[in-house]
Amino acid sequence: MAEGDAAGPKTRASAPAAALLASAFVVSTCGLIYELLASTLASYLLGDSVTQFSTVIGTYLFAMGLGSWCSRYVTRDELRLFIRVELLIAVLGGASAAALFVLFPLVEHFRVALYGLVLGIGFLVGLEIPLLIRILRGFDFRETVSNVLTFDYVGALVASLLFPLLLMPHLGMIRTGFLFGILNAGVALAVLLALPRASRYRSETVSAVLVLLALAAGFVASDRLQRWAEVGSYGEPVIYAVSTKYQRIVLTRREDDLRLYLNGNLQFSSRDEYRYHEALVQPVLGRVQNPRNVLIFGGGDGLAAREVLRHPEVRHLTLVDLDDEMTALFSKTAMLTALNKGALTDPRITVINADGFRWAREAAATRAGSFDAIIVDFPDPVDYSVGKLYTETFYRAARRLMAPAGAMVVQSTSPLVAPMAYWTVATTLEAAGLQTRGYHVYVPSFGEWGFVLAAAQAIPDRARILPGGRFLTPAGDGQLFDFPPDMARRPTPVNRLDNQVLVREFANAWSRYEG
C-alpha cells in the first residue's frame, strides 16, 4: 500500500508509527465523546433521552459506515488526508457543543443542525479508521487491523467512563467539547512532528497550530459562550421548548421542580408558585364584595386562574393572553393541567387570545364597569412592547373595565431589586385616577416580589382570605403590606407611552443587581 508516497522508511514500530497508533486511541475516544455530547445535549434541549440517544447513536454509526465506505476512493497521500480529517474532526467535534447551544434559540429547525453535525463527525471518524490502518500497513506494522481495533475499543471504554464520572460534572458540555477537540488536534500535531519529513507538511502543521489555538480560546471562553447560549443558562434539564409567534416557551424539570421560562425569564417554579399566585389573587378577591366577574390579563399558565376559580362565588372568569400556543399548552398537557387543576378548561372560564392593550382599549367601550376584580399578570417590563402594558393609558382602560366598587392588582416586579420600577407602577396607577396599596411577598425562586392593589375607592385594610390555601391566611395578608426602609416608597415619574420610564428604570435596576 501507499506506494511509498506518504509513509516513511519501513522500519519496525518507529516513532511516527507509535504516534499513529496512539492516535487511534485518541481518535476513538474523541469520537465517542462527541457522540455522547450530541446525545446528552439533544436530551437536555429536546427532552426524551431514550429517543435522543438512540437516534443520535444510530445516525453516528450510519455516518461512520458511509465514511468507511468512501475511504476506498482515497488512493494516494493517505497520511496527508488523515491529518486533515483529524483537524476537521477537531474543529467540528470540539466546537459542536458550543455551536449547538448557541444555535438552539436561534434556529427554527434545531434537529437539522444537530443531525447534520452528527452526520459530519461520524462520516469523518468513519473515514479516518480505514485510512489509519492503511497508513500503518505502510509502516509494515504487524497485526495492524487488530491493533487499531483494540485501541479503538479501549478508547471507547475510557470515553464512556470518563464522560459521566469526570467530564460532565466537572467541565460541563461546552468545555468538554473543546477539550477533546484540543486532544484531536494535539494528536495530529504530534504525528506531524514525529514524521521524518515534517517539512512536506508545513501547511498542515500551521493549520494544526491554528486549530489548537482556536480551540484553546474556546475552552477559555466557555463560560462566556455558555451565557450567550440562552438555553445554557437554564440550571435544569429542558423538557420542552417551542418558539411561538410571540415568545420562546421553555419548560424545565428536575425531580419535582417544574419551571416555566418565557424568553429566558423564569415565570414560575412548581415548588413555590403557590406563594406567588395566592399572593397575586387572594388579597384582591378578598377585598371585593362578592367577586362574580373576574378578568385576568396574561397568566396563560392558568395558575392565577386556578386561584380565582377556588372562589365559588366567581361566576365568570375572562383570561386575556396574547399567545394561543401558551394557553393551548397549559390546557392540554397532563403534567401542566395537574398544576393548574384544569383551570383553563373550567366551564366558568373564557380564554381570549388577544393583545392585552388592544383588547382593553376595545373592551373599555363595550364592557365598561363589568369586572369586579382585575388581575394584571404581565411579564416584567423588559422591553418597550411589554412596557406599553404598564402605562397610564393602559391603566385608564383597565379602570374603565372595572366595576365601581371593584379592585385591581398588578404584578409589579421586585421592590427590593428595582424599587424605583416597583413604585413607578404605583405612581402610574395613581396618575390613572386610582388609589393604591402596595404589598410584597417572598417567593424563594424569585426573591422578594411586589404587587400593587388599585381601586377607585379606598382599599380596605382587611381581607376575607379564602381558607384552604397553602400560604396565605387572614393574618398573613395583613403582614404583606409592611415595607421596610430598603423597599420604602419613593417619588417616581409616571410611566407613559411617550416616555416608557419603567422599562428604562427596570433595565437599570436589574443590570446593577446582576452586575
Binding site: 410571540y246 393583545d355 392593550f357 388592544r358 422591553d383 411589554v386 409616571v494 407613559r496 407611552l497 411617550d498
Partner: protein, 537 residues
Amino acid sequence: MKADRRTLLGLGAGAVAIGGGGFAATLGGTEALPPGGLGGTDLARGHRLRDGGFPAPSRFEDVDVVIAGGGIAGLSAGWRLQDAGFTRFRVLELEDEAGGNARGGRNPVSAYPLGAHYLPVPNREAKAVRHLLRQLGVITGDRDGVPVYDPEQLCADLQERLFWQGRWQEGLVPRTGLSAQDRADLAAFEQTMSAYSRRTGSDGKPAFAVPRAYSSQDADLLALDRLDFVAWLDRQGWRSPVLRAHVRYAMRDDYGTEPQHVSAWAGVHYFAGRRGWTVDGAGDNELTWPEGNARLVRGLAGFCRDRIATGHIVHAVRRDGEGVQIDSFDVAANATTRIRARAAILAMPHFVAARICPAAVGGAGAFSYAPWLVANVTVDRLPGGRGVPLAWDNVSSTSDSLGYVVATHQTPDAFPMATVLTWYLPLSDMPPSAARRLLLQRTADTWKQIVRDDLLAMNPDLEGAIRSIELWRWGHAMIRPTPGFLDRGEAVRPAPPLFLAHSDLSGLSLFEEAQYQGVRAAEGAMAFLHHPHESLL
C-alpha cells in the same frame, strides 16, 4: 466617505450619465425585486397645466370664495371659513385626492404616509394649530392651563435611533467615539441653539417662532438670512465632521436641501424654533399616526367635505371687475367651468400660481423646490439590529437616505407581525432640476434596488422579509429656504380679491406654516367680504 455614499445611492452627476441600466448592474443585485408600483403627483395634469390646451368654458357658476388647491393650506383656509360660519366657498383640487404632500396610502398591513408624517407638539404661539387639534381630539384638555395631548397620538417611546459605528443608539446626535473637537463643537452648537431658542427679541417676540411670522424682527436675527448655514457654521469655527453631518441630516430632513444652500436663519430656526407647549415635559415630542399627516388631512377635510371637488384643474385666474374669474377643467367631465367669485384663494405651490395668474401674482423665479423619493416598504417582520430596539424614526449615519419611520409604531399591539417602513430620500446634492430629471428618468426597478440595498445595509436582519416596495415621486416636494427667503413671500402677494395661501410663502414646508398661510388668506378674504370673525392668528 461621502463619495462612496453618493455612489451607493447613485445621486452623483456620474450616475445620471450612466443611467438606470448601468447603475443597476453595478449594484450586483440579481435577486428578484419585490413587487410594488410607482406613484406620484399626476404628471399628465401638471404638464397639461404647463402646456395649456383646455377646452373653452362651457359651464358657468357663481360662488363667493374659490379656494384653488386642496393641500394643507387650502384645506386650512376652508376649515377657517367654515369655522367662522362662512360656507359659500368651494375647494378645487387638481389631484384625485386632497391633501397635497400630506397624503397617505394603505395596504392590508397598515396605513402609511406618502410624504409629511408628523407634527411636532405646537409652540405656545401656534394658536390656530391648537384650535384645530382641540377640535380633532388630539388635545384632550388642559391641566393648570397647559394643553394635554392624547397619549396615543404622542409619538411612543422609543422616538428616534441612529445607526452609528455599527450599533443603534438612542437619539439622532452621535454620542460615542467622538473626538475632543466633536464634543466641544457639539456642546457649543447645542448651547448656542438653546440660547437662540430662549431669546426674546427687542419687539417682545421669540427670536425663532413657529409659525415663523411670530418671530422677532431684530436686525441681527434677520441678518442671518443673508448667509448660508455652512458659512454661518464656518464663522462660528465649528468644523467637527460629526456636527456637520448632523446638521446636513437636519437640513435635508426638514428642507430637502444641503446646508450650503439653506439660509442660516432657516438653519437656526430648525434647531431653535421648537418649544412644544404641553404637560409632563413632553414638549419635545411629536404627534404621529400610522398614515402620517394624512390623519390631519382627513380631519381638516371633514369640516367641509361636501365643498371639496377633486380632479379639477384650475388653469386660469384673472381679475374681473370687483371679483375674480376662475377657469377650472373638470377631468371627469372633460369640460371647463368658468366661475365668477367675489374672492379667490390660490392655495397652490407658487410656481403654479405664477403660471395661472401671471398678471396679478409675482413671479416664481426665486422659488425653488426640492424633489424627494418616498418608498413604502412592507416587511414581514419588525426591523431589529444591535443596540437599542426599534424606534419610530430610524436613521443611519452611513446612508444618504434619511432612514425610515415605522407605520405601526403607534398601534396598541405589543408585537405587530408585519409593518410598513416609510423610507425617505431628498435628492438634494445636485441642482433641483437635474434631480427632478433623475427622479423621473430612473426606472421603478432601479429605485427599488436602491431602496432595498439601503434598507438592508441598515438592517441586514430584513433580508428575505421585504414583501413590496411602493414608490412615490415628489418632483416639487417642498420649498427650499435658500438665503434671502424671508422677504420672498411678501413680495409676491397680490391685492384683494386675490389671496395666496401656501407654505411657499413662509419658505418653510411645515404643517404650521401651511395652516398659518391658509388661515391668513381665509381671514383676509372674510375681512374683504365684511364677514365678521375673530382672528385666530
